[in-house]
């Protein structure tokens, strides 16, 4: 009988789920060197392939093939470990080991993330991402302003009055106390304003309305500033082409996180969890 897949829940069509299931199956297969381990079974078969694998492992590390005696030792070690491993599984030791649990949980996360880590997104997909999250790439606000620095607030207030009543509108450069800061900023990027003037100044500037009047005084880590904020460009979002790599980095990181979370949620939904009060 062919099942009617159209009536299956939507999540069964989710490629991620296919991948996770495939991954889980593969993982179970490879969990112990490709051998599907049945803890109940007490028969161990060391196939020619297994021996070739052991030999290869030796060669990769030592740079030469093992001698017969060395291979025998590898096989002995393999059998010993296999016996103990199965007995450990029978005793349920894997479940009580925090390190094993954490590693296996981490590997599930890695399975979910692996596809996103290696996928090559198309330009369309990235453009879509770019347009959906312009704020992540458009932190290019620019500030055009003049300022007069005073170390004391009273001096800054006096300077502000003088600037706004017109008596010294033209020579604001001569009014301030000496400080090694540029007096006029022309379309300075936000990060540079932060680096040079500090967090407090930037927050104060962001609260001002641009215009031709002198405003303030506002505080910075240096002292006080009368400010003429002529322009604050929200900054056009840059052209996609100029930030393509950043978009791809961002897309990749976000997709990895999202896949881990979605993968987990789908698995998690199949569980009933009771937390005792």
């Amino acid at each position: 009988m062919i099942p009617d897949t159209s009536r299956w829940p939507a999540w069964t069509k989710e490629p991620l789920i296919h991948f996770l299931i495939l991954g889980a199956v593969l993982y179970a297969l490879f969990a112990w060197r490709g051998e599907p381990v049945d803890p109940a079974s007490r028969s161990i078969e060391v196939t020619r392939e297994d021996q070739a694998q052991l030999s290869l492992g030796f060669e990769r590390i030592m740079g030469r093939a093992p001698t017969d005696a060395e291979l025998d030792r590898q096989v002995d070690k393999y059998i010993r470990e296999e016996v103990l491993y199965r007995e450990a599984l029978r005793l349920g030791l894997d479940g009580n080991d925090a390190v094993v649990r954490r590693r296996m949980a981490k590997k599930m996360d890695m399975l979910a993330a692996a596809q996103a880590e290696t996928a090559q997104p198309t330009d369309e997909a990235l453009k879509e991402w770019f347009e959906a999250h312009p704020e992540r790439f458009g932190d290019k606000s620019r500030y055009t302003l003049d300022h007069v620095f005073k170390s004391e607030i009273d001096g800054a207030k006096a300077a502000l009055r003088a600037l706004n009543d017109g008596s010294s509108r033209d020579d604001f450069r001569k009014l301030g106390d000496p400080i090694s800061l540029p007096q006029s900023l022309s379309e300075m990027p936000r990060k540079e304003v932060l680096d040079r003037f500090g967090e407090r100044f930037l927050a104060e500037i962001d609260a001002l309305e641009p215009g031709d009047e002198w405003q303030g005084p506002i505080a910075s880590g240096f002292g006080w500033h009368a400010v003429r904020l002529t322009a604050r460009d929200a900054g056009e979002v840059p052209a996609y082409e100029t930030v393509r790599q950043r978009v791809e980095n961002d897309w990749r990181n976000a997709t990895i996180e999202e896949r881990k979370e979605r993968g987990f949620e789908i698995l998690r939904d199949a569980y009933t969890v009771e937390i005792a009060e």
Partner: protein, 643 residues
């Protein structure tokens, strides 16, 4: 049959992953190269660019063993200002992004602990080395055991007794190449001229008998060139071998590389010797090589400060910052440090030795500039006291008593959490933020060190600066009528004059004072040093007393780890002329040291945040004056006639 199929599928998966990773290296030409001709440059270096040249990620043998699970990509995101989840779980972010970053994972066993950890146990067993197998098991047992394993690895490396499988270059080469190339591709992806610079580099970990001769190697170029080499191993090689490697890189690729020595304080006198490493006399050829490839040293970082030591500079009452806990033994504390070794351990005495050697052999091997960095092994480039994430993941913020517990590599005596500094930063005076511009600033030594705060420090040296210069475009005057920090001034039989400006960190503490440190060779060939207080806050009320500037005061509240900027100054400027200049003196260097007012160290923030009681010793050290060191300017005699 099933088994064979499954194996095939597994290899196919890995193959697909590998080829897709390779495809990721498809970045724009601007990002991939050295950044020349990509951004508009200022006429003169117009602002300092901030960076960390010494950061470890999970590709470092020790960092991984200490528990870090963040890789280069996390490190780059973090340095650029994005929020990252630290290995121990908490969210972390820099208050202010950095402008550049050198990820300097150890070249020895690049990725080896991660590979050891990820390997099937059987594979490790097959190598037949019981020690490695024991380390493997310890790494998987618990974080504490993992740290102990790494302590053992470092101790064994220090005495040259690592298992062959970890040091065999041929055996490791393939694995190293895979990690190195993937790493270089990641750097190109995050390198963005004008915004953020990601340098290729690695740490060269030479450590004879545990004496620290480590260097960070930094490349000017993108992956296309840096992929042509592999990181040069430190164990069982020599510094001359490293310089030859760098020379060969420059020769074959047309690129450039420089090396930055660090933790000279833990070298037991070997970092700045008066002789060659083999004990033979210093030669001009050796000195020339060293000066060429090592234009900058790291003066301050988590494992202490190497500017000077009170033993060497008894008249400098501000000496001794970040010295405690680091000055009695080498890195793994297997050999004690004697007084006689200290002169080879600290930078100021090395600068003096450089003058002496130049008198003798005509070349100064120790004519270097200074930077600070973190040496953080958490993939988090934090240099701020209130955002300290520890030397390694074993003392991230999750370990609440990290300030008071013993913190040793290998042994359990002597060093405690509070001895560690929060780490410093490097400031580069460049015309733009590109690989080429910042690298070139390092090369011409126009860089300076800070212990974390971002103060802006300018230094110009010349012969005709005056107070009036401040009224005009003094930066242009500085560049056109003198030389900036890192430069050389030819003696004109008259005292040199300096334009010095120090502007506080806009989000940090006020400044206490600006000093000039002078070292010189006098007419009789004696080498001398002197520290001058050049300008300080409230000069009218803080009059000299007994020839000394009175202490600035202390506003730190020990109960809540706060301070106020009621004392100190926002900016200190001076035009200073050397008052002790004598025509008969032979040669000199001058560098600037800027001191902040006292502020809480990370230990005090920890004590308040986590309710920890610091020991009396730790409490006495919980407040400090953070500082900046400029690169020196050298005053040199005019070349004799006919030279």
């Amino acid at each position: 049959m099933r088994n064979v199929l499954a194996k095939g599928a597994k290899w196919a998966l890995i193959g697909a992953a590998a080829s897709a990773m390779a495809a990721c290296s498809d970045v724009s030409e601007e990002q991939a190269g050295n950044g020349e001709n990509t951004v508009e440059l200022a006429e003169f270096p117009d602002r300092p660019y901030w960076g960390d040249t010494h950061l470890h990620t999970d590709n470092s043998v020790d960092a991984f063993g200490f528990g870090v699970r963040l890789g280069p990509e996390d490190a780059l995101k973090y340095a650029r200002g994005e929020e990252v989840t630290a290995t121990t779980g908490a969210q972390s972010k820099l208050a202010r992004p950095l402008d550049f970053l050198v990820i300097a994972d150890h070249s020895d066993g690049l990725g080896a602990t991660r590979r050891l950890y990820d390997a099937p146990r059987l594979g490790v067993q097959a190598m037949g080395d019981e020690t490695m197998l024991r380390w493997y098991d310890m790494m998987h047992e618990s974080p504490e055991q993992s740290q102990r394993a790494v302590g053992e690895i470092i101790s064994r490396a220090a005495v040259g007794q690592l298992p062959d499988a970890m040091t065999d270059r041929a055996a490791n080469e393939e694995a190293t190449r895979t990690i190195w190339e993937a790493h270089l591709d990641t750097l190109d992806r995050y390198n963005e001229p004008g915004v953020f610079t990601a340098f290729g580099g690695f740490e060269y970990t030479l450590m004879p008998q545990g004496n620290n001769l480590h260097r960070v190697v930094m490349f000017r170029d993108g992956a296309e060139k840096t992929k042509q080499v592999l990181p040069y191993p430190g164990l069982s090689t020599s510094t001359e071998g490293l310089w030859d490697y760098m020379a060969a890189y420059e020769e074959s690729t047309g690129g450039e590389a420089l090396a930055i020595p660090h933790n000279s304080n833990l070298s037991n006198g070997l970092m700045f010797e008066l002789t060659k490493p083999d004990g033979g006399p210093m030669t001009a050829e050796y000195a020339r090589k060293r000066a060429r490839y090592e234009p900058v040293v790291e003066a301050t970082q988590i494992k202490g400060d190497s500017e000077t030591h009170p033993f060497l500079s008894p008249n400098d009452e501000m000496a001794g910052f970040g010295v405690k806990g680091w000055d009695f033994g080498n890195l793994p504390l297997n050999l004690p440090t004697t007084d006689a070794m200290q002169a080879g351990n600290y930078i100021r005495s090395a600068l003096k030795r450089g003058l002496t050697l130049e008198e003798q052999i005509g070349v100064n091997p120790y004519a270097f500039g200074m930077i600070g960095s973190t040496d953080s092994h958490t993939a988090l480039a934090t240099g701020d006291e209130d955002n300290f994430w520890g030397k390694h993941t074993g003392n991230e913020q999750a370990i609440e008593d990290r300030a008071i517990v013993a913190q040793n590599l290998g042994t359990r005596t002597g060093r405690f959490g509070w001895h560690y500094l929060a780490g410093g930063y490097a400031a580069a005076w460049a015309r733009g933020n590109t690989r080429a511009e910042i690298f070139d600033a390092f090369k011409r030594r126009e860089v300076y060190a800070t212990t974390g705060p971002r103060m802006t420090v300018r230094l110009f040296a010349g012969f005709d600066f005056s107070e009036e210069d401040w009224d005009g475009d003094w930066v242009r005057r500085g560049y056109t009528n003198g030389v900036p920090m890192g430069g050389e001034l030819i003696d004109k039989d008259t005292a040199p004059t300096f334009l010095i400006s120090a502007l506080k960190d806009p989000d940090g503490a006020n400044l206490d004072r600006v000093q000039v440190v002078k070292g010189w060779v006098d007419a009789f060939g004696n080498v001398r040093e002197k520290v001058y207080d050049v300008v300080w806050s409230d000069m009218e009320t803080r009059a000299l007393s007994g020839g000394k500037v009175p202490a600035v005061g202390d506003t730190v509240n020990r109960l809540d780890a706060t301070y106020t900027n009621d004392i100190g100054a926002a900016e200190l400027r001076a035009v200073w002329t050397d008052p002790d200049y004598l025509i008969a003196d032979k040669r000199a260097f001058y560098y600037v040291r800027v001191l902040e007012i006292p502020t809480p160290r990370w230990t005090l923030f920890d004590a308040v945040r986590f309710g920890i009681t610091l020991s009396d010793e730790a409490m006495a050290d919980a407040v400090a004056q953070e500082r900046a060191y400029s690169s020196p300017v050298w005053l040199k005699p005019a070349p004799a006639e006919g030279e």
